[in-house]
């Protein structure tokens, strides 16, 4: 790996849109793709900063997402407001252990792990760490892959809220946490998109 030459070292970069490889030259101005006219960068510009910004937003919204009610369910006999955790507890208590575990993993563990993973990646990149680049890249791929599945909860709430509207008999309403939770998922996805995994390899390239 260390023997490979990166395009950046050769003063070449590829267009993000049409993937045409060109040489941006030594000019101080903004380079543009000669074929499609898109701006050219060696690496995603401000990748780390943007990623941090989105990540911090996600962290902030993660708190209301878990403390506020995500779903209000009302029926003739029952009326309850559930947060994510209380919903999981209720499912566990009523014997639906499988669903409880699924919901817990999809709605609590995965967003949290995503946030932690992205933080880890960002910190390691900023410190120009050469620590296990391959594993870190795999982690990044995993984060990207798994990101959208966290929206499961939101889908359930949105579907139920739309479908179960039987007046006094039964109602399902999305709570404010649903919005926050959706925002967390979207923000983490955006953050992982903003992250440029090539940055993991750059310090190693320099050493070689």
């Amino acid at each position: 790996m260390s023997g490979a030459t990166s395009a950046a070292e050769l003063g070449l970069c590829s267009c993000h849109v049409c993937n045409l490889v060109s040489s941006p030259g030594q000019g101080t101005g903004q380079a543009h793709c000669p074929r499609c006219g898109a701006p050219l960068h060696f690496r995603k510009p401000g990748s780390v900063a943007r990623c941090w910004a989105l990540l911090i937003s996600a962290y902030i919204l993660y708190i209301p997402a878990n403390t506020l009610t995500i779903m209000e369910t009302g029926s003739l006999l029952k009326y309850r407001k559930d947060t994510i955790v209380s919903g999981v507890v209720e499912l566990w208590r009523t014997g639906s252990w499988g669903i409880a575990i699924v919901v817990f993993i999809a709605s609590v563990t995965i967003p949290l792990l995503k946030l932690i993973s992205l933080t880890l990646l960002l910190v390691s990149v900023q410190r120009r760490s050469g620590w296990r680049p391959r594993q870190r890249t795999r982690l990044y791929r995993l984060v990207e892959l798994v990101g959208r599945w966290s929206m499961l909860d939101i889908y359930v709430v949105a579907l139920l809220a739309a479908l179960v509207q039987l007046g006094n008999m039964a109602t399902v309403k999305a709570g404010p946490a649903a919005l926050a939770f959706g925002a967390v998922v979207v923000l983490t996805m955006l953050a992982s998109m903003q992250f440029d995994p090539r940055l993991i390899w750059d310090p190693i390239q320099k050493e070689s």
Binding site: S22, G25, G29, P34, I56, S57
Partner: protein, 558 residues
């Protein structure tokens, strides 16, 4: 790697187009976390602001309530929610924890009331049917106090009247609640003007306290001397004027109710203050009878009150001026004496009517001084027997000039009116005195004396017997002979009488009108009368001519 080897291969790579760089001082992306932070902060602030007040309400049961579901509603607007239900430590009641929204904070004052709204069918109204479908909720009635509080005791039944309805509340005392219940109607001139808020047993169990609410503007008709009576059912009276049926509306016949009235002649009296206490009478007649003022006194008797029922009249020379309301027994442990305090209701106005003129002269009407004055003149209460057959007693008020000085003990509650022992009691006392006197007689000595006397008597009797025996032997034969002689004499007398009867028979014959003797006799008598006549003539003549005795009869001159 050889850079120079590779470089020509990239010679066909086109050069990028260069443009002057735009200046970017701040990355726009940082707006996102700022917005997120603002959202998060606003959510936090909102949830903190909306947190509201957590209160606890205690109820007897948790029927129909559910944590997280049961709402708190004020004027049918949701102001909070039950967060938890717990059993109190002593397991006597249920503690409901409720969270109220922040705009309901002003409702949490001392006299705010909470009750569970359930479907209720009571008396004439059905309420809370909506709760059958929507579930129970906790009703809230805002108090007017300014003192805030967060622990409340829930009502078991919904309050009959909301606190913000204008009107006034009054307290009625009655012997029993009759058929009254919460929300029983109150009538004034047969118009419904209010309702019963609550009926409660007095703490001492001696009566019932009924809270009533009279809506404005009708509350102004409740005067300080108004009388209340139970308008429950039908009041049927049969008297010399015929049958009289007195009823209120049909509703009150079925459900009971209260009526009130103000005596006509005193319409200018001030309206009653809120929470004024009135007595609730059983019937209208009784109420109107009691429209006058009532004073309660206590009479303490030492004698037995057997035969004195509660309700017995207090009588002043035949005029009822009160009645007995309570009879107790008080044991004075100090000198182990039993006294019987009797409570009476006294209608002083009747007494004033009796002594109206005098009282006006002496003391102001109805004053204590006036009664003190009466008592100083020997005005006392005593127990009198109404009927010797049944032994019924009544309390009689009268003047006892010889009674020991006493005065009304105004410091006691109720004031203690002096009494004198009743005639029965006095009789008993006299009997006791006699008994005491009998007891004092020295029966043993007397018995000894009597023994002696008897012995003496015995000897006396013996000698008497001897004497009698002597008499028997000596006197009786003599007497017998005397008797025999007497009998003979009687026989003789009888014979003599027989002869006498014969003689009389003869005389009878002689004396008969047609008897010859009688005829002769009559003739003789006639002769004798003639002779007497001649004699009288002679006498007269001699009187006029006494000389004729010597000279003889002078010849009449021609």
């Amino acid at each position: 790697m050889n850079d120079t080897d590779h470089k020509p291969e990239f010679s066909d790579i086109p050069d990028a187009i260069s443009e002057p760089k735009r200046r970017f001082s701040i990355q726009l992306v940082w707006i996102i976390p700022i917005v997120a932070a603002l959202i998060g902060l606003s959510l936090a602030v909102k949830s903190y602001m909306d947190r509201g007040e957590t209160i606890t309400i205690t109820f007897k049961t948790g029927e129909g309530m559910e944590a997280g579901k049961t709402k708190l509603k004020y004027k049918d607007v949701q102001i909070g929610e039950v967060k938890g239900l717990a059993i109190a430590k002593d397991r006597s009641h249920v503690v409901v924890t409720a969270e109220l929204s922040k705009d309901a904070r002003g409702l949490l004052v001392k006299d705010t009331r909470f009750w569970v709204v359930r479907a209720r069918i009571s008396g004439g109204n059905i309420s809370g049917l909506g709760t059958l479908i929507g579930g129970s909720y906790i009703g809230v009635d805002a108090g007017t106090s300014t003192e805030s509080q967060d622990e409340f005791i829930g009502l078991e039944a919904p309050p009959a009247v909301s606190l913000d309805v204008p009107g006034r509340q009054f307290v009625l005392h009655a012997a029993d609640a009759g058929s009254l219940d919460t929300s029983s109607p109150i009538f004034f001139r047969r118009m419904q003007v209010g309702q019963v808020i609550s009926t409660e047993l007095d703490r001492d169990g001696k009566g019932v306290t009924i809270m009533v609410f009279i809506r404005a503007p009708f509350d102004q008709y409740v005067k300080s001397n108004s009388v209340f009576w139970q308008a429950s059912g039908i009041d049927l009276t049969l008297n010399t004027s015929g049958v009289k049926i007195n009823t209120e509306s049909m509703v009150s016949i079925l459900l009971g109710g209260i009526s009130f009235q103000t005596p006509q002649d005193r319409i200018d009296t001030p309206t009653a203050a809120p929470n004024n206490v009135f007595t609730l009478y059983q019937t209208r007649d009784e109420a109107l009878k009691h429209a006058e003022t009532i004073e309660t006194y206590q009479l303490v008797f030492k004698e037995s009150v057997r035969g004195l029922p509660v309700g017995a009249p207090v009588d002043l020379r035949g005029v009822t001026v009160g009645e007995v309301t309570k009879i107790d027994v008080a044991l004075d442990s100090g000198n182990s004496e039993i006294s019987i305090p009797v409570e009476i209701q006294f209608y002083p106005e009747r007494l004033r009517a009796q002594y109206g003129n005098r009282s006006k002269q002496v003391k102001p009407l109805g004053s204590r001084a006036y009664l003190n004055d009466l008592v100083a003149h020997g005005f006392r209460a005593e127990l009198k027997s109404g009927s010797l057959l049944t032994g019924q007693l009544f309390v009689a008020l009268d003047f006892f000039p010889k009674a020991p000085a006493a005065r009304i003990d105004w410091s006691a509650n109720p004031p203690r009116f002096p009494t004198v022992p009743g005639s029965m009691d006095q009789m008993q006392k006299q009997l006791m005195q006699i008994a005491h006197k009998i007891e004092k007689i020295p029966f043993e000595e007397l018995a000894g004396d009597a023994g002696k006397t008897i012995r003496t008597l015995d000897t006396t009797l013996k000698s008497a017997e001897k004497l009698l025996r002597n008499l028997d032997s000596a006197v009786i034969p003599e007497a017998r002979s005397v008797l025999q002689e007497t009998r003979q004499s009687l026989e003789d007398v009888r014979k003599t009488l027989g002869e006498a009867r014969k003689t009389l028979g003869g005389a009878n014959q002689v004396l008969a009108a047609d008897a010859p003797v009688q005829l002769d006799l009559r003739e003789t008598l006639r002769e004798m009368s003639r002779a007497a006549q001649s004699l009288r003539v002679l006498g007269d003549y001699l009187e006029q001519h006494p000389e004729s005795l010597i000279r003889g009869k002078r010849e009449d001159k021609p």
